[in-house]
Symmetry: C2
Subunit: 136 residues, 2 copies
């Protein structure tokens, strides 16, 4: 089940310049930073009252995010929702005629499994579903 | 001070079709709906765990939102933050070299006063500040 907004993702070309901008705008003192190889992106994020703001920057131009930025420029990129059971939500939404970019969730930031609903089936919005990786 | 994410705004051309889509996606049973004349928009919204999702549709093509949709199509439009003192936040951010679309807040949905940071000064993202209207 979809439980809550986990984060808002903002596509940025220059992550250091963006960190400086968001420090000034929201008084952010510290960013959580990590490289997410499966998504081909660097992620710098901070929390505002329980919702994360994620700045995502491509590791290379030839990645989905790199191509997105080349076409659209910096800006709002996706909204992510926490799921209590991501595989069950994927199956249920697929039966409801939504398509996913990954039918099997892939590793995301913050030790999460993630997938994205295809924007062609959601009126142009890139929605992410995410859930903590099961403990192994 | 900026306190929390209030809502995520999604620009849509056909509000009835979008309500049907979001009902299916999130199981929404009821939308709050209102016309916001000052913004030239119809707003249909619902809550997910304390954060509102707002579907915004222009009242006419010749409005800022109508022109946005003509250029960009349906999709993520803005992220709004609740402010504890919107006039003080506007002044403080203006000194920090951010520009606003409205230096004086205008009436928004949900009995709020609202303004928007100019995307040219925020790396392409349309951020809204909002605060409850003072009781008169």
């Amino acid at each position: 089940m979809i439980q809550a907004i986990d984060h808002v993702g903002i596509a940025v070309r220059d992550i250091e310049a963006s960190k400086a901008l968001y420090s000034k705008l929201f008084g952010v003192k510290e960013f959580h930073e990590e490289t997410v190889e499966a998504a081909g992106a660097t992620v710098a994020s901070f929390m505002i009252n329980g919702v994360r703001i994620e700045l995502v920057s491509p590791l290379a131009e030839d990645t989905p995010l790199g191509r997105y930025l080349a076409k659209n420029g910096d800006g709002l990129h996706h909204v992510a929702f926490r799921s209590s059971d991501i595989n069950s939500d994927i199956q249920e939404l697929k039966h409801g005629s939504f398509d996913f970019i990954y039918d099997e969730p892939i590793p995301g930031a913050h030790n999460m499994l993630v997938t994205f609903l295809h924007p062609k089936t959601t009126g142009g919005v890139l929605f992410e579903l995410c859930a903590p990786k099961p403990q192994s």
